[in-house]
């Protein structure tokens, strides 16, 4: 399958893209995305699992609201995985897959 044409790889547009009320908000959200991704990466690096969970929770709430449902689902997967882990298990390694998937999805966000 040629790259770029798979529904899970290409740019991610908001489902509200045509909505005149939402234009500005979508642009803001898409514009903030790089710094949100950076925040994810830096708390992950620092090993602050609690902060990672909080960021995932926020993205879960925000994504779909702006019409980027895949962001919410990816964030939900990460958050739920973190919720399920206790004590020693709460490590970056345990959620590597979910975190990678979330970051990839976030990077696809575009106006």
């Amino acid at each position: 399958m040629p790259t770029g044409s798979s529904p899970n790889q290409g740019p991610l547009h908001s489902t509200f893209a045509g909505d005149p009320d939402m234009g500005e908000l979508i642009a803001e959200f898409a514009g903030e995305m790089p710094s949100r991704v950076e925040a994810l990466e830096s708390v992950a690096q620092a090993g602050s699992i609690d902060d990672l969970q909080r960021l995932a929770h926020q993205l879960k709430g925000a994504g779909a609201g702006y019409g980027f449902e895949p962001v919410s689902s990816a964030a939900a997967r990460l958050e739920n995985r973190l919720r399920a882990l206790e004590g020693d298990e709460r490590t970056l390694a345990s959620v590597g897959e979910e975190l990678r998937s979330l970051i990839e999805t976030c990077r696809r966000v575009t106006i």
Binding site: D21, M22, L25, E28, H57, Q58, G61, G63, A64, G65
Partner: protein
């Protein structure tokens, strides 16, 4: 709950959004823009409680899952306070569990919406909650009105009079009280029947509303007795108003008995500034003046100025 005039007017409903996520505030701001609402924002449970205590909104959209004071705690605070217990709250949450919904409803939420919001659903639920609340306020207001004349009823007067006297003492502002009693009312009922008597009472109510100012509080006190609270009004000013009422009533030609006019006697008692006189004594004084007006021949106003407190209290200019 008491209703003030501002709440009855067509001002835009105020909706407070409580959520720790700035995204929710932004999104709801856009989505509810078309709804003719005044939106306010609080980003924590603590901030919400402060806001509500300061100036209660007409509806709260409340996120449950917040750090610090969570939505459940905020809901408890709202419902535990007698001033805000009737404030409608729609709970918003990403939490899916049925138990949370049950708890929210148990604590007094009127509705529950899960995130991400279906935006049409959100709008209609907001409208529905505001409509319900409007009806409840109207119902509560009805309980404070006299059915026949539409004026405030005695229960409302009792409460309001106490408040006005306290305010008068606190701020040393003028305040006047008039008791208005229809003359020979029993005779009107006996001669022309009760429907005629009712019409007279309704008529007096209308005359009062037209003669009085926005700030005045006309109440039906009893059978043929009315009482009017006139804040920010000196006895002299109140006398002018009462005279106007008296004259207008005398001039009315009644449909059912054009040959018979109706008059009233008025006992008026007011203060130009702060006074030590307690509310009940003040009312009693007005009542004595009413008696004087009756004894003096009816169809007149008997007025007296209540003694202001000593020189230490400022007299209103």
């Amino acid at each position: 709950m008491t209703i003030n005039a501002a709440q009855l007017s067509d001002t835009r409903p105020r909706v407070l959004i409580v959520d720790d996520s700035p995204d929710v505030h932004r999104l709801l701001g856009v989505r509810l823009k078309s709804e003719q609402l005044d939106l306010e924002h609080a980003e924590s449970g603590e901030a919400a409680v402060d806001r509500i205590r300061e100036h209660a909104p007409d509806l709260v959209l409340l996120d449950l899952d917040m750090p610090g004071m969570d939505g459940f705690e905020v809901l408890r605070c709202i419902k535990d306070d007698s001033e805000t217990v009737h404030l409608p709250v729609i709970v918003l949450s990403g939490l899916q569990s049925s138990q949370d919904k049950v708890t929210a409803f148990d604590l007094g939420a009127v509705d529950y919406i899960t995130k991400p919001f279906d935006l049409t659903e959100l709008r209609v639920r907001v409208r529905s909650a505001l409509r319900l609340h409007g009806l409840l306020q109207m119902l509560s207001q009805r309980a404070q009105l006299d059915g026949l004349t539409g004026l405030w009823n005695r229960a409302y007067f009792d409460q309001r009079w106490t408040e006005e006297v306290a305010a008068c003492q606190r701020h040393a502002r003028p305040l006047s009280l008039a008791i208005i009693d229809a003359d020979h009312f029993k005779s009107i009922n006996d001669t022309y029947g009760h429907p005629a008597g009712d019409q007279v009472l309704v008529g007096i109510g209308q005359i009062l509303r037209r003669a009085l100012r926005q700030s005045d509080v006309p109440c039906r006190y009893g059978g043929e007795e009315f009482v009017v609270i006139m804040p920010e009004t000196t006895p002299e000013e109140a006398c002018v108003v009462c005279e106007r009422v008296r004259q207008t009533l005398e001039d009315v030609q009644w449909e059912r008995h054009p040959e018979r006019t109706v008059t009233c006697s008025i006992g008026l008692c007011g203060s130009t500034g702060a006074t030590d006189t307690p509310a009940d004594v003040w009312l009693q004084t007005a009542d004595e003046l009413l008696y004087q007006a009756k004894q003096g021949g009816r169809n007149r106003v008997a007025v007296r100025e209540i003694e202001s407190s000593g020189a230490r209290l400022a007299k209103a200019s």
